[in-house]
Structures are given as structure tokens and as C-alpha cells.
Symmetry: C2
Subunit: 354 residues, 2 copies
């Protein structure tokens, strides 16, 4: 079965992902230098391109841009520099594959492809929880802020007879250990499938960079920004049950399929797959390149662009404005609790295909 798709808001309107992905962009600037280093130190462009004179790059979970274009441009520039440092005189061509669910707005993506780009572009529809490319056909895979999406809501969360039934909650942030375990098990299954597929697709010596929200070892889910945000969203949802805008049953049957693993868990999953060596694993502060204090309403708008689809699908579009207004009303409290949060929550992971 195709994994569940929760596309970002398409088009380019006020609530579109295109217009509300600057937080993610700031986060990707933090990663930019680390990617450049990984390519300079550990990506053998010359050898990998020797047979076909082509480097094939995939961005998994690319959404609709523009971040994916900025990232892929940086990748190519880093690889060109590496190629020159290797005194490679042969002409190398770059083939870029932009992947996301088939429900992603590829029309917007394709119509915003940079003019004068020095690469060949293709869109690849489908879940990365499964094979997307021929065997050993890729040389570099990038995935930013996509792997936190589970392929589905763990079934136990919806089962009234299960100890993991997540009544009255929408996430594991403040939930029982059983709920947290159900999420963790689903993430482990998803990563197993993901890593198996990528191990098939990436040529020996090829590289994969994964950037995603993570939970520092020993920190509680409510002590990081994403957890805090889900907590506030949950409070808004519960308030709306009280005022009658949403029914209790609707909340009980809704869970955000989002997970932030610890570095320890990720290490175990990669090792158990066995196809990759871990070249670098690091937690950084994704907001470290943002000058001045975080603009909470902007962060909420950003998170709205990413989550609106899944809320709309379950609760209907008519509750969305109220949900986000109620969450925005809590900006001051959000801001104050954010201060004591752990900031190093962006996992930067470099894997190399053995």
C-alpha cells in the first residue's frame, strides 16, 4: 500500500508552503556548510561519474520549492568544486530528481524550476517508503524535513481496547509510554523500509544526507520546539472540543503522524540496516542563523503551511482558521516556554553506501 500523503499547501497563496517555508530555509542554511564539508571531504565525484559522466541526485520529500532548488543548486556547486579539486577535466552532467508524494503540487514545482539551470530535472511521484529508482542508479540523496513524517498513524493509537489508545491527545508529546512506543515502533518500521530502498538505489560510494527534527538523548519530547508546538495545538484542539467546534470523537481519532527520533535510535536503525556507514551525525540549532528573537507568529504560520493539509483532511477546512488563531493567541506563553527548550534539535546525518 502506498504510504499516506500529507502534502504541503500548494500554489503560492498567503498560506502556501512556497510563501511560508522561510523557517525551513533558515534551517537549511545551517545545514548548507555541513553538506559542503561532507562533499568536499567524502564524496568522490570523479570516481562516481566515471562510467556515465553523469551524477544523479535525488531530493526526497522536495515539496514545491523554492528550498529544494536552493539546496540542489548548492549541492551541484559543491560537487563542481570537488571535481575541480580532483583535477577532473571530463565534462560531468547532473541529473536531478525531485521526489514527493503524487499528491504534491508538481505543477507548481515544475513551473518554478530555475531558468538557466545547469542540470537536467525530473519529478518523481511516490512515497520514499519504498523503491523509487533503479538499482545503484543514484549517487547522492538529500532529504530535508521529510523523514519525520510517518508512513501512517500507528494503528494502536486508534484502538480503544489498546493500552496505546491516544484518547484526548493528538501526539505522543505528553502522552503515555505506550503511545510513545507505538510511535517509535512505526518510525523504526518506516526507517527500515526507507533504508532498504535507499541501499538498493544508491551506488557504492554514494552519499545520503538526512536533515530532520530530532530529540536530543535524555530530553523529553515536550522540551523541544516541535513538541511544544504540538502541545499548544493540542490545547487549542481541546479548547475547541469544550466550545463544541470539534467533537471529542474527532480528537480521539486524530493523531499527528510525526516523529522526532534521538541520535541513539537513528544510529541503531542505520546499523541494523547495514548498507551504510555513518560519516557524520550531529545535532544543531536550526534557528542559529536567524538574527534576533524568533518571530512566533511567523513560526506558527510556517507550521500551519506544513500541517494544514492533514488537519483539513480530518477536521474539515472550516476549523482551520480558529485552530490557528487559538494557537497564535498563545504566542506569549509559547515564547516564554520556548526559552527553556533544548535548541539543538536538527539532526544532520551523513551516510555513505558501503
Amino acid at each position: 500500500m502506498e504510504a499516506k500523503a500529507f502534502p504541503m499547501n500548494g500554489g503560492d497563496g498567503a498560506y502556501s508552503y512556497t510563501k511560508n517555508s522561510h523557517y525551513q530555509r533558515a534551517a537549511s542554511y545551517v545545514a548548507k556548510e555541513m553538506i559542503e564539508e561532507a562533499i568536499a571531504d567524502k564524496f568522490d565525484v570523479t570516481r562516481l561519474s566515471s562510467s556515465s559522466n553523469t551524477i544523479r541526485i535525488a531530493d526526497l520529500g522536495c515539496s514545491v520549492g523554492p528550498n529544494t532548488f536552493i539546496t540542489t543548486q548548492n549541492l551541484i556547486e559543491s560537487m563542481e568544486r570537488k571535481r575541480h579539486s580532483q583535477d577532473c577535466t571530463k565534462m560531468t552532467e547532473f541529473h536531478l530528481f525531485f521526489n514527493d508524494h503524487a499528491s504534491n503540487d508538481f505543477n507548481t514545482l515544475f513551473n518554478s524550476l530555475p531558468l538557466g539551470r545547469h542540470y537536467f530535472a525530473a519529478g518523481v511521484p511516490g512515497s520514499f517508503h519504498g523503491r523509487l529508482f533503479p538499482k545503484s542508479s543514484l549517487h547522492f540523496v538529500h532529504s530535508s524535513y521529510a523523514l519525520q513524517w510517518l508512513s501512517k498513524v500507528p494503528e494502536d493509537l486508534l484502538d480503544k481496547s489498546s493500552p496505546a489508545w491516544n484518547k484526548g491527545r493528538i501526539h505522543y508529546t505528553n502522552a503515555s509510554e505506550q503511545v510513545a512506543n507505538a510511535y517509535a515502533n512505526q518510525f523504526a518500521k518506516d526507517m527500515e523500509v526507507f533504508l532498504d530502498a535507499r541501499a538498493d538505489e544508491i551506488a557504492v560510494g554514494g552519499m545520503m544526507v538526512v536533515i530532520m527534527p530530532a530529540l536530543p538523548d535524555g530530553v523529553r519530547p515536550s522540551q523541544i520546539m516541535s513538541g511544544l508546538f504540538y502541545d499548544f495545538l493540542e490545547q487549542s484542539v481541546v479548547d475547541m472540543v469544550k466550545t463544541g467546534s470539534i467533537s471529542e470523537a474527532e480528537v480521539d481519532s486524530f493523531n499527528l503522524p510525526l516523529y522526532a527520533p534521538t541520535p541513539k535510535v537513528m544510529t541503531q536503525l542505520v546499523q541494523s540496516n547495514g548498507g551504510f556507514s555513518i560519516e557524520r551525525m550531529e545535532l544543531t540549532d536550526p534557528s542559529s542563523k536567524i538574527v534576533g528573537p524568533l518571530n512566533i507568529p511567523a513560526v506558527v504560520m510556517h507550521l500551519r503551511a506544513g500541517l494544514e493539509g492533514i488537519f483539513t483532511k480530518h477536521f474539515g477546512s472550516e476549523i482551520i482558521d480558529e485552530l490557528y488563531e487559538r494557537t497564535l493567541d498563545k504566542s506569549a506563553e509559547f515564547s516564554s516556554r520556548l526559552e527553556s527548550c533544548c535548541k539543538a534539535t536538527q539532526l544532520f546525518l551523513v551516510l555513505k553506501r558501503k
Copy 2:
């Protein structure tokens, strides 16, 4: 500059290309057996897939489906048969590239990809009048009913001071020799660019099959069905100038960028490119698999789906219904004149990369 795009009608409504492409489908059945033969006789699957265990196939001008899925499925089945006949035991994977202009409705295309397909799919946005893929990366290229679209309207047709000014007409079918020459020159330029790009992209021994409307040598443009249809459309447009629905200037500044070459011209263009050998070139009757007489209103609806975009862009959407109603009103005359038309107007061309 990106070539002009005139997308087929998207979505799946009453006038959509999806719902009105059965005439083209019938035409592609005629080609199906010929493609199977070409692959069986002349496509060395085993050798071409030996280095990467992958066969890469592109459908250029794929539109939104479903024809492209039927065709590509046939291609893969033919190649699998060839592989077995060659006693090839290695596993071969197929990578399919669906290409059309960036303005094509790729969202519809991606959401109608066949479930359980045995190939990896990618969409490639951009004009095939230029490079789309890395060097020598393709093994088989298919293009059906796409190359008749010129990359642009020849400029002389719009130039009042030129002998090729196409006043009062919308095509070369009944126009002056100068107009016909302007079209022919544009087609020659487009084919030069197209063949240069494909010669770069197709690996040695790779194959290209082109299916498109053509004019049998020695036949006049008005003696084939497409020419006849443009003639009737032109009459409708001229009638609408008389009733005031369209201005004379609007007609003078409009020309259908469609061209049907003769086999002789195609031969010359392929030979002048030099990258391909002509393995087969044949004219067939695209309606030969349609049982009973042609349903003229259905043909007009089919042609409407293909041309509505370009008429709307120039004349505005409000004239479309009247234009096609007027053309449908001429069905009886269309039908009678069609009888004396030359039927063998589908060019089937098999090229092999030298």
C-alpha cells in the same frame, strides 16, 4: 528560449484530453504491432542494459495519459519478450521518463500512473526542442503525435510586409506557397534541434520511434484529414469574422503551429543530422483499426481537446463553444469530403542511434 507550449486540456472533464484521446488511442493501436516488430527485430535489450541492468525509456510529448501508459506498458512487454528470446537471465529494471511542456498537467499524469506498474516513473518538464536528459542516458525514445507541433509560429506569417503574411487564414492548408515554405522552414529548424538533442541523449544502439501526422509525397495538404479539419476550422473562424464574433485582425495574427511533413522531407532531415539510421519509415492509415465509419463529431471533439488551449489563448475562451459548434455543423460536408481524402497519413518512423 523555451519553445511555446500549447498544452492539451488537463483534468478529466468533458472536454479533457484524458476523455477525448480515443482517436489517438486507435491510431496508437495501429502503431503497436509495428513497435513490437521493431523491438523484436532491432532492439538489443541485453547489450543495452548490460552496464547498469536498467533500460531507460522516454515518452516525449506524453500529455496527461492514459495513452502514454498504454504505450509504455507495451514497450516494456515487448522488451521483456526480447530479453527472454535472448536468454537473458539478469534482472533488468525499467526507468520511464514522461516528458511534456512544464505547463502540461503533470499532477493529473502522476495521479493516474498505473498501480502495480513494473517500472520506475519520472516526469520531465520541458520542451523536446532542446536537451532534456544527460548524454547517452536513454535507450529508447517514443514520441507519438507531438512532433507536428512547431516550436513557434513562423515569424513571417505575422509580418504584413512579408510575402508569407498569412492574411485571413489560420494554416498553410489552402495558403500561398510562401506561407507553406515558412512552415516548412520552421519544421526543418525544429527537427534539426530535436534530432541534435536526441542524438546526444540516446546511447549508441538505442532506438527512437516517432509517430506523427504526415503528408504522403505528391498529395496536397487539403487532401488529408488534418488539413481538411483545419480548412473547416478556418471556415468557421472566417464565418465568425463576418458575424462579428471575432475581428479580422485577430484572425490575421493567428496561425496554427502544426505541420505534417512528407516522408521525403523527413528522410532528408534525418540524413542531414547524421546521428541515426532509418530502420523503417512507413505511412499507415491511423483509422484502420476503427470499426465502421468514422464518428465525425467524436473526431471533432478529439481535435477540440488538442487545440482548445491554443485557440483560447489567442481568441479568449468565450468563442470556443461557437467555434466548435460551427465546425460540428459542417459534419456532413466534412464526412463527404473525407471520403476522397488520402488515408495513409500516419508516419511511423524507426531510427537507430549510430
